[in-house]
């Protein structure tokens, strides 16, 4: 079980310490950890998530410039430690509206309160954001306004959430709402890898069904798809009942209030990809000519938006001179080159070309960059998944139902 949690800044400074058990963990462990980070090159994001120090076993998670460090001396499931830290990071991001050093330092009391409710004696308790939010009010603008107006600025609700007593841990027993609406969003990420010759090495879609529910009472929802057979590797929110899915592929659930991830899925072995990127690199006596073409391969039927192409210039490139006929090209200090295209214009296909000067002594380029492509397509789920219908039982009046879809590039890579 976790004995202690530290928050460190990305320069190794201890920002916060929360002891969990009677075995106090000395702060010197952080110094050890930071020495370790430095010995590994000093980049906290590249450090193994599970490390053994001479005295403790450490779990570390690096998020947005903050290192979450948990210590234990006993054997425990590693994923439990890591998952828990992920949850802490998620909850804090949710509460503080972001995550950075200043936010943590300004709100450390809330952080303490949250950690107190999330873990007791090293054993995780509640990490469900909906429940935590009822025990500890987030420091949002409304409550700040309220505190200014009323002069009371307690951010702790005076009563315990009903949920801890109800048998549906993710929902209050008695919810009253002014609004009566529910939104279902399909958010998909397409992961694809293309080889040097343009062949598709791997293509998959990772999708999430996100629900934003503001319904009164205890509504019982059923959501069905027209083509559930394409789905693989589903994972469900605890509220989803397993049997109806097993027998009829119907999602039946009592939703938590607010936004949550109802289900995640994967669609494998896709053949069509929306965009092609064709890089060409030709080396010639210390120079390398680069030419990248971008265009639509399979038209998804909606506009492809926010297209970007990003790649790391090999370290043996001394200087680069890149121009494009559409969009803007930037070369950052760490030799990352990013080309933001936006939408593909109707009349021409965007291309980027230029010359890379190699370091002296090198004749041709041996290391080839990987082109990472980003884009967004609103209004379509590329996997082809379609929602058939959403039924709501137990609702006093028929609520408003909204459906949306979005596909964006996940790990969309083109090798050269």
């Amino acid at each position: 079980m976790l004995q202690c949690i530290f928050f460190l800044s990305d320069s190794g400074e201890v920002m916060l310490e929360k002891q969990m058990t009677g075995h106090r963990v000395d702060r010197s462990i952080c110094a050890w950890f930071w020495d370790y980070v430095l010995s590994q090159g000093g980049d906290p994001s590249k450090i193994l998530p599970v490390i053994a120090s001479p005295t403790h076993y450490l779990f570390q998670l690096f998020r947005d410039g903050i290192i979450f460090l948990a210590c234990t001396q006993v054997e425990m499931p590693p994923l439990m430690g890591i998952e828990f830290l992920c949850r802490v990071a998620d909850v804090l991001t949710d509460y503080l509206g972001g995550l950075n050093e200043d936010l943590i330092k300004d709100n450390f009391i809330i952080v303490y309160e949250l950690l107190d409710e999330m873990m007791d004696n090293g054993f995780p308790l509640t990490t469900e954001p909906n429940i935590l939010r009822e025990m500890i009010t987030p420091p949002n603008i409304v409550s700040k306004m309220l505190s200014v107006v009323t002069g009371k600025n307690s951010n702790v609700s005076t009563r315990l959430p009903d949920a801890t007593a109800s048998c549906i841990p993710w929902r209050k027993t008695n919810m009253k709402h002014a609004s009566n609406e529910v939104y279902v969003n399909l958010v998909e990420e397409i992961d694809a890898v293309f080889s040097r010759d343009g062949a598709l090495v791997k293509c998959e879609i990772y999708g999430e069904v996100q629900v934003d529910s503001h319904l009164p009472g205890l509504p019982d929802l059923t959501l069905s798809f027209s083509n559930p057979s394409i789905l693989n590797d589903m994972r469900f929110h605890p509220c989803v009942r397993f049997r109806p899915w097993e027998s009829d592929q119907i999602l039946s659930f009592v939703p938590p209030d607010g936004e949550f991830k109802l289900m995640t899925y994967r669609v494998k072995k896709l053949k069509s990809t929306p965009i092609y990127v064709k890089p060409q690199l030709t080396s010639d006596t210390g120079n390398c000519h680069i030419n990248v073409l971008v265009g639509v391969r399979n038209d998804p039927g909606k506009t492809i938006d926010s297209i970007t192409v990003q790649f790391q210039l090999p370290f043996c490139v001394a200087s680069a001179n890149l121009t494009s006929n559409h969009g803007t090209v930037n070369i950052l200090a760490d030799k990352t080159c990013s080309w933001s295209i936006g939408q593909i214009p109707k009349d021409k296909s965007p291309s980027l070309s230029g010359n890379l000067v190699l370091e002296t002594g090198l004749d041709r380029l041996h290391v080839f960059p990987v082109f990472q492509v980003g884009f967004k397509i609103m209004g379509v789920a590329l996997s082809g998944l379609q929602i058939h219908k959403l039924d709501i039982k137990n609702a006093p009046s028929q609520p408003y139902k909204g459906f949306r879809a979005l596909t964006q590039a996940g790990e969309y890579e083109v090798r050269s």
């Binding site: 009677g22 998670l61 439990m80 303490y112 054993f123 890898v193």
Partner: protein, 842 residues
């Protein structure tokens, strides 16, 4: 660099307020506010508290303001209360006398009408952790456990554990465990149940060594009734509590196959839980439940595949890392499992390198005839990767796959292409691989040498690669026209060569080359020997001297020594023995998997789980049916060995040395029974300190080595065994747990016996004829494991319990005997041994 987080009251960093004056200022302000009932008092208090706590957070010692803080704590504001609790919890330990001040207001808060405050106060009260305040804890805890609010009960349950850690006696005397137990079985709130379970497990685990009753209690936690009760409510628990429950279930011993299937059906949907920890815990349960059912075990592998792959793909890279470690373990046991899903392990550009590394290992492990081509193609893509360490790793992975013998032809071509890439690290890695390949597949030498010959040794700087190149130059000097001259130029630069490894290889290569092309090499060899003799490195010097004298003595002998006809290496020594892997597998879903070491290799002894034999033996298949692969059997005796050797470390000073060494190298003794040293080591590790058997076993072991069959002179069988002896598995298990090992020895099995031991049943029937019954058996060639028992014919019912591990490849049997009457065990061992020696002969 981090500012040193050392005691900041001594050296506060300049950016922070410099301790003393600030603290006394705060004290003053707090004192002024303490009694104030003014309307704005709470707000100003809150600001002050916030400052105090922020100092505390940065590491400044503000404990001096303790009494002022306590004075201010009489408030109804819950945030103030929380801050105060936090402060008190932090400093109470170093100021036990002051902590007494807080008891009063905390106890009062424990009776507050708001359950939230009651809970918080109780939590803080228990978190004070001051031993002499324990008496004040009992009453509030007792009340808390009966509180109407589940929040308070939940806090109180964990509070009991905190109390236990401060003072175990007080906790047990107040009978809290019993209260928790009834609460666990009756409370309507799942979180309360989970906390009770968590606390009870911890308490009984720690108590089990001390009292019989506690270990019984611990077993009742694993009883069918409790496990089923909790399992039936599993959906009410939150995700973390589910992990806890699943850990418990993984230890549960199912009574029959229906039991197993019931549990698996109930838990199947947990595999699709959004929390990875739950998924992995469920998988552990599945794997452990089906350990003895080969078919189902395979089906389980198929079933868990998809959820595991999903976990790898989704979630943060830290999560994928943990999951990949587990996948790696699974793949070691069932390589076929993921062979068609190899694309899941293709590296993404944005993966951190620790994930990439594991993915490369996965790709290496799952490569087989059907997918080698694709995998190698993919790996070759990474060789040009921007991330140099990963590029290196991927070249190594290609080499490893080649050594696994799949599609070598294509791979050799690929490797040779790497050499043409003219990238120094690529060349370096490839050279090492080509060397290994040539040692295994000498038939490829022609193609490789043609390419290797073109590499200029100036482009190779890394010692390992240079050594490999030099090795090839020496070994294939007849095929490389330039070899002697390259070697010569290398020898000329002897002094610039820093790595001893390279110089050693240079010496040997010069020798080899000399025997193949004497006239061209003679000069170079002379220079090399001279340089070697003058070398400051001991090994280099010695080798040069050795060669020199060898050449002086007889050149043809020297040739036979240095340049014997070589045989292709068929198997390279594996880095990790299969026992270790089995052991790690047993600790699935634990840190062991991530470290790739069993926990006894890295955890502190004080934190190690108490040895649980009953659980392990319970996983043997009961009855006499043969079972398929049951790797756990190796584990239980590992544990046994481990625990006995530990006991010795503490208790037996006479055998301290060998036992300790046996402990530090636990991997050796099971695998290499051949060497005398390890044999005696294992024996001392096993033998009970009370028995004066050490020397006799030592001689036996030597006899054994000399080829004297130990069974030649068995003890006179004055002992008669009851042919109808009966013992139920439960009793066996209990006895095995209670009794000490009275004899532990290796004996040999006749070749005929080995031949007859195709299934465990053959031996079981044979031993039955000698009135020795089998109670459980298992294993697969070459390791079989049996648990036997026998009963003395006349007199009181005295039992002998035997654990026997037969290794068919070494024709050895390891026998461990435990007896009700230890004095008769020698005689029984004679009987057992003679029975065993007859096996297969008749």
């Amino acid at each position: 660099m981090a500012p040193p987080p050392a005691p900041p009251q001594k050296s506060p960093s300049p950016s922070q307020p410099s301790g003393k004056s600030e603290v006394s200022d705060l004290k003053l302000q707090l004192r002024q506010l303490a009694g104030s009932r003014a309307p704005g008092a709470d707000d100003s208090k809150r600001d002050l508290f916030k400052r105090v706590i922020s100092y505390m957070t940065v590491g400044i010692d503000v404990s001096a303001a303790f009494s002022e803080m306590v004075m201010c704590s009489a408030t109804s504001d819950i945030v103030l209360k929380k801050m105060c609790y936090l402060y008190v919890g932090n400093y109470a330990r170093c100021h036990p006398d002051l902590a007494l001040l807080t008891i009063n207001f905390l106890q009062k808060d424990c009776h507050d009408e708001d359950p939230m405050i009651r809970g918080l106060a109780l939590r803080s009260l228990c978190s004070l952790r001051v031993p002499n305040l324990v008496e004040y804890l009992v009453a509030p805890l007792g009340a808390g456990l009966k509180d109407g609010s589940s929040y308070v009960r939940m806090v109180a349950a964990v509070g009991v554990l905190k109390l236990y850690h401060i003072s175990a006696a007080t906790c047990l005397d107040s009978d809290f465990p019993a209260v928790l137990k009834s609460l666990m079985l009756t409370d309507p709130d799942a979180q309360v149940v989970a906390n009770c379970l968590f606390v009870l497990q911890e308490i009984w685990n720690l108590e089990a060594n001390k009292s019989e009753e506690a270990s019984r209690e611990r077993e009742t936690l694993l009883s069918k009734k409790i496990v089923y009760y909790i399992l039936n409510r599993i959906k009410e628990f939150n995700e973390w509590a589910q992990c806890l429950v699943l850990e418990l279930v993984a230890k549960y011993i199912p009574s029959d196959t229906d039991d197993i299937f019931d549990i698996m059906n109930l838990l199947e949907d947990r595999l699709q839980h959004a929390n990875g920890a739950v998924v992995l815990a469920t998988i552990k349960v599945f794997l452990h439940l089906t350990m003895s059912m080969t078919d189902v075990h395979q089906q389980v592998y198929e079933r868990i595949k998809a959820p595991l792959l999903t976990l790898v793909g989704s979630g943060s890279s830290e999560q994928s890392y943990a999951v990949l470690s587990h996948l790696h373990l699974l793949v070691m046991r069932a390589p076929m499992l993921f062979s068609s899903d190899y694309k899941h392990f293709y590296c993404q550009f944005s993966d951190p390198s620790y994930v990439k590394k594991l993915k490369l290992e996965m790709l290496t492990a799952i490569a087989n005839e059907s997918n080698t081509y694709e995998i190698v193609t993919e790996l070759c893509e990474y060789a040009g990767n921007v991330d140099v360490p990963i590029a290196r790793e991927s070249i190594r992975a290609v080499g490893k796959i080649a050594l696994q013998q799949y599609d070598v032809n294509a791979i050799v071509d690929r490797l040779l292409q790497f050499l043409e890439m003219e990238k120094d690290y690529v060349t370096a890695e490839t050279l090492v691989l080509v060397k290994d390949l040539l040692r295994k597949y000498p038939q490829w030498s022609h193609d490789c040498i043609a390419v290797v010959g073109n590499i200029s040794s100036k482009n190779v700087q890394e010692p390992k690669a240079k050594a490999a190149l030099i090795w090839m130059l020496g070994e294939y000097s007849q095929d490389m026209p330039d070899a002697p001259y390259i070697l010569e130029s290398l020898i000329e630069n002897w002094d610039e060569e820093n790595a001893a490894e390279v110089r050693l290889h240079l010496l040997t290569a010069a020798m080899k080359c000399f025997f193949k092309r004497p006239p061209e090499t003679q000069k170079a060899l002379g220079a090399a020997l001279a340089a070697g003799l003058a070398d400051s490195h001991q090994d280099v010097h010695d080798r040069a001297l050795f060669y020199y004298r060898l050449l002086q003595y007889d050149v043809s002998v020297a040739e036979r020594v240095v340049n014997p006809p070589k045989q292709a290496v068929s198997v390279f020594a594996d880095t990790q023995s299969s026992e270790i892997k089995d052991r790690i597998f047993d600790e699935f879903n634990s840190l062991s998997v991530v470290y790739q070491k069993p926990s006894y290799m890295f955890t502190d002894k004080e934190h190690r789980e108490p040895f649980e034999f009953s659980e392990e033996i319970g996983n043997l298949s009961l009855g006499q049916e043969p079972v398929g692969n049951s790797p756990r059997y190796d584990e239980s005796d590992k544990d046994l060995l481990l625990s006995t050797s530990e006991r010795e470390e503490n208790g037996g000073p006479s055998t301290n040395g060998p036992a300790a060494s046996g402990y530090s190298a636990p991997t050796d003794y099971n695998s290499s029974l051949v060497s005398l040293s390890s044999q005696t080591q294992s024996e001392t590790a096993i033998s009970d300190p009370g028995m004066p058997k050490y020397t006799s076993q030592m001689t036996l072991a030597i006899d054994d080595l000399l080829g004297l069959s130990v069974s030649a002179a068995p003890a006179p069988p004055s002992l008669k065994l009851n042919p109808k002896a009966a013992l139920d598995p439960g009793t066996f298990q209990r006895k095995w747990g209670q009794l000490a090992v009275s004899i532990s020895q290796d004996c040999s099995v006749s070749p005929q016996g080995i031949a007859a031991l195709t299934t465990p049943q053959a031996l079981i029937r044979h031993m039955q004829a000698s009135s020795i019954q089998c109670i459980a058996s298992g294993g697969q060639s070459p390791n079989f494991k049996f648990f036997f028992f026998a009963q003395k014919l006349d007199g009181p019912p005295l039992f002998f319990l035997v654990e026997c591990i037969v290794n068919t490849s070494s024709a050895k049997a390891q026998v461990k005997i435990k007896a009700d009457d230890a004095t008769a065990s020698e005689a029984f061992f004679g009987l057992f041994q003679s029975a065993l020696s007859k096996f297969g002969v008749l």
